[in-house]
């Protein structure tokens, strides 16, 4: 996993492959259907494939930040955020936020309990007032 993240051209390769796949898909759709709705995407995908190939081939002299433990922390945060969204859908916005907000703070190394609780409560109250009461958008 860390190998993939380290390789500076891996993203370029992914983009190139996506471009290629999309281009193939788009051009074949163009052949088979009567409408030319895939024309634009096909051309764009083709250009993307060509340009991204150039990016991959050219060796850049720019140095990138090395992958550190923090990259994993980012992925962890992203996963927790994804879980938060799932929780909000499953058990409601307010309980999910009450759990996730402090959890995210802890992962980022913020350990003081009182401010976390305070901010969480403040946010939930403001969100409730702003969205449910004022704007009448129910948060579920």
């Amino acid at each position: 996993m860390s190998l993939i993240i380290k390789s500076e051209n891996s993203l370029g390769a992914v983009i190139f492959l996506s471009g290629l796949v999309t281009a193939v898909f788009a051009f074949s759709s163009l052949q088979s259907s009567t409408s030319n709705d895939m024309l634009f995407p096909a051309v764009l995908a083709l250009l993307l494939t060509l340009v991204s190939l150039q990016v991959v081939i050219k060796k850049n002299s720019e140095s990138y930040d090395k992958t550190s433990r923090n990259s994993l922390r980012v992925l962890l945060i992203a996963c927790v955020s994804a879980f938060y969204i799932y929780l909000a859908e499953a058990m409601g916005y307010y309980p999910a936020t009450a759990v996730s907000l402090p959890l995210l703070a802890v992962i980022l190394g913020y350990k003081k309990i009182f401010p976390v609780v305070f901010v969480t409560v403040l946010w939930l109250a403001s969100a409730y007032l702003l969205f449910e009461k004022l704007l009448q958008i129910s948060l579920g």
């Binding site: 983009i15 995407p41 764009l44 550190s68 980022l108």
Partner: protein, 492 residues
Amino acid sequence: METILLELLQGFQVIFTPAGFGFLMLGVIAGIAFGATPGISPSTGVALLVPFSYSMPPAVAFVFFVAAYQAANYGGSITAISINAPGTPAAIVTAIDGYELTKQGKPGLALGTAVIASALGGFIGALILILLARPLAGLGLLFGPAEYFSLTLFALTTVIGFSTKNRLKTCTAILLGLLLATIGTDPFSGNLRFTLGLSGLYDGVPLIPAMIGLFALAEIFSQIESNLELKKISTFSGKLPGVNTLLKLKWAILRSSVLGTLIGIIPGAGATIASFISYGEARRFSKKKELFGRGSLEGITSSEAANSSSVGGALVPLLSLGIPGSATDAVLLGAFSLHGLTAGPELFKSSPEIVYGIFSALLAANLLILVFGLAGNALWLKLISIPQGLLYPLVIVLCITGSYTVNGTFFDSGLCLAFGVFGWLLKRNGYPLAPLVMALVLGSMLEMNLRRVLLMGGIKLLFVKPISAVLLTVALLAVALPLIRKKPYLTP
């Protein structure tokens, strides 16, 4: 001229009643709140206010709406500058330079400039509306598919200059954005493109969640990765721009306001395009081009003045022809209908107090924006000075919540997060995000209008129609000249 002044005085009478003034203030506050909240665009915000107005006298109702509309375009700059989460698409460009200044420890400078530019821009836009509504109304109708294509292409050229990194990666980013813009239902064939069976994508990639993810979340992820330990932003200046600084910006403000108003008049080209084009023009005329993208005050000024003045511009076709000049205008049209009115030249004759009430509300709202904005800055600065370990989770929650409110579905929140990760990966590999976002925003306008042009008579139309030809030429020059001069847009 005298009649205009007289009518205007009558209009001011509306806002000097307790109800009128109350709703003017409420409108401004609500507008700032909407504008600042990522996820609620000005049109959504005003739409949310419409039901409340059911029992209000129409004149007061429209003071309320217009004040909110004007204020919302300012509000977007607040979160754009402080946490890199543009509250409205028109604040994307503001975020680019504004957040840079915040990172440099000068958020107050950015926020202050944004307020002043917004207020002045909005004021100038309102003046142009009041004095020149009738003569300018016809301008909007001159724009058809050919002209829209060329205008959008021109707006996209401002993006090219954002490449601080290499040109190839910028190209890749633009192409990615354009490709993402093709997702959704194709209006020409009725077919779905690339929606992967997800009903959340039927209308295309929801712009606001994508934007929030690519800007705010990607930035947070990048910061988490690069900071070995998270700490408070230690040196932090809440200082506002001084008078000298502001005076140097006067031409930027004037130019951007006029440009913004004119672009706002064009139906379908609103605050967002106005901010893009205005930014590009500001850089072209600037003596400090290299600052753009790194914390240029001219950048913030041009973006904010333009998106605020575009409001006055958008009201021109609405009031004089009954045509919506922007998404929010469409909401206002619905509001007119709800109150039993018809927008258009008839309105001037049958209910002048409503029209002039709107005019005076627009002028007064900008004054209030200045007051509330400057006062509110202290609050924002306090907010963003909380430790990053606490700020980031809050912003993440805000982005996820805001994305949900766009369409009432958590799918959009998930999309926002996905774009956040995507944006982070792009950023750490040296791909610029601003071009991607702009291409995403402008992509469908570009494609759709080109296809319309082809149906209308072919590509040659773009060069034959005068306005289109001019815009294309300027766009071409904007891209070609720097290449010819062999000078990169931004010196490294």
